[in-house]
């Protein structure tokens, strides 16, 4: 009996040890499964994050290349001109001299680069030189700094920016004392204009797809 009992005990002990081993194995597998799920989730998250960062990096590189193009691919570089104002001291004068096509060939004219102006403007006294008949152009009103209205005539003129010849919409202002202005339409949307305080230069670049 003892032998039998011992044998049984031995068998019981063996199966008990096996059972303990089994539940521990199952518990371990469950823990492993949880860890694996967390690792997979973390992996997916990290992958997604890395992908986003790569995209950001790519877009930054894109901008950097555009910026580089602004300096390297410049078609016109103009040194800053300083003007001494009575009340303000020295200030940058964004003045640029550009050749304008007239009836007698190209003539250099000073323009103020003005991102605040919708359209480029020259005084109407320029019209005969440019071969423009104002009576054929549509008359519009343009608003000045203080909101006062002035009449102007919608036309177009040809200027040279670097070696590029471009036709730009212009208005011929009836204010004969008005300055020559390069405004947004046709100029700011065709060219990149960079005011570089480091180099003290205005750098004009043609738009990549222009």
């Amino acid at each position: 009996m003892m032998i039998t009992t011992n044998g049984l005990n031995s068998q019981n002990a063996s199966s008990s040890a096996e059972a303990t081993y089994n539940w521990k194995l199952i518990a371990g597998l469950k823990m492993l499964a949880i860890v694996l799920i967390i690792i997979v989730a973390a992996g997916v998250f990290m992958w997604q994050r890395k992908k986003t960062q790569a995209q950001i990096q790519q877009s930054k590189t894109g901008f950097a290349s555009l910026i580089n193009q602004g300096t390297d691919g410049a078609i016109l570089t103009i040194p800053y001109q300083q003007t001494l104002y009575k009340h303000f001291g020295n200030a940058i004068n964004p003045q640029v001299e550009l050749p304008v096509k007239t009836t007698k060939g190209y003539k250099n004219l000073d323009f103020l680069i003005d991102s605040g102006a919708v359209v480029s403007a020259v005084p109407n006294t320029m019209a005969p030189d440019l071969g423009v008949n104002l009576s054929e152009l549509t008359r519009i009103t343009i608003e000045g700094f203080a909101g006062q209205k002035t009449f102007a005539y919608k036309g177009e003129f040809i200027i040279k920016v670097g070696n590029d010849e471009v036709a730009i919409p212009v208005v011929f202002s009836e204010n004969s004392q008005a300055s020559n202005i390069l405004g947004r339409i046709g100029f700011f949307d065709e060219f990149t204009i960079e005011f570089n305080a480091e180099t003290q230069k205005i750098i004009i670049t043609r738009r990549a797809n222009a």
Binding site: K30, S135, R139, S176
Partner: protein, 274 residues
């Protein structure tokens, strides 16, 4: 049973369903701060709405009239279809369904009204417009400009011009293509600068003049009688003398023949420094 065994046992007892539930819960808790961080990150957006053209309203603010409307000037007094015209005045209010502008008796459509404030109205010469008087109605109160507005085209020949002479600050008022007219009414508006503008009749012409002060500047009205013969291309009417600072414009002009027929007229250039 030690602590390690207890934890193992707890895992052993944990059903697969609960286990998945707990994992999902843990991941959700971990995802919450990440979601908050992502949501608070600056986002680069591109709104197409910003690219849509915005239509300027005809009237931004209605200025209640303090009296009957007045017209000081219709500027310019001529224009071709599509050209901008300004009516300068006061007590003009603003655009309203009971207010209108008419040219030669025909109301200007809303599409041709550009802006309407208490002090000016801007409109475009309608494509079917005819020369005539300019009248406005502000909430039922009507007024008409004393001058005539001319709708011009390529066939308009009579032109008034201020042509600088060799003498500083002096110009001649010249009428080209007078078309048998013999009388001119002209307004010179001093847009800028103080002082008196001196008008002198040219030989063979007679001059009557008066000066009027308006909120938009001093107006020198001149009535000139002159003679033209068939085939005359240009006739000198007046000598105009101003000072250095002044800027003068031809604000109104009407020519007529001996039968009182008014001939369409334009001015070129309108505002001059000489």
């Amino acid at each position: 049973m030690n602590r390690g065994t207890k934890i193992l046992h707890w895992f052993y007892k944990l059903s697969w369903k609960k286990m998945l539930g707990i994992t999902a819960f843990v991941l959700t808790i971990a995802a919450a701060p990440l979601s908050i961080k992502m949501a608070t990150n600056p986002t680069r957006t591109r709104s197409e709405a910003a690219l849509l053209p915005q239509t300027e309203p005809i009237t931004k603010e209605f200025e209640t009239p303090k009296g009957p409307p007045k017209i000081f000037l219709v500027d310019h007094f001529f224009g071709k279809a599509g050209d901008a015209v300004l009516i300068h005045g006061e007590n003009l209010g603003g655009y309203h369904q009971d207010s209108w502008v008419s040219l030669a008796g025909k109301k200007v459509n809303e599409e041709d009204l550009v802006s309407w404030t208490g002090s000016y109205i801007e409109f475009k010469v309608p494509s079917d417009a005819r020369s005539g008087t300019v009248e406005i109605s502000v909430l039922g109160q009507r007024t008409t400009w004393g001058g005539m507005f001319f709708v011009t085209d390529a066939n308009t020949e009579a032109t008034l011009a201020l042509k600088p002479t060799n003498t500083v600050n002096t110009a001649k008022l010249v009428l080209t293509n007078p078309q048998n007219t013999n009388e001119l009414l002209v307004w010179f508006l001093v847009i800028k600068g103080e002082g008196v503008v001196k008008l002198t009749a040219e030989p063979g012409t007679t001059l009557t003049q008066k000066t009027t002060e308006t909120p938009i500047g001093t107006i020198y009205e001149a009535q000139v009688k002159f003679k033209t013969t068939k085939g005359v291309v240009a006739v000198n009417l007046l000598t105009v003398q101003k000072n250095e600072e002044q800027l003068i414009g031809i604000a109104r002009g009407e020519i007529n023949n001996s039968e009182g027929v008014i001939i369409p007229l334009q001015a070129d250039p309108l505002y001059v420094t000489f």
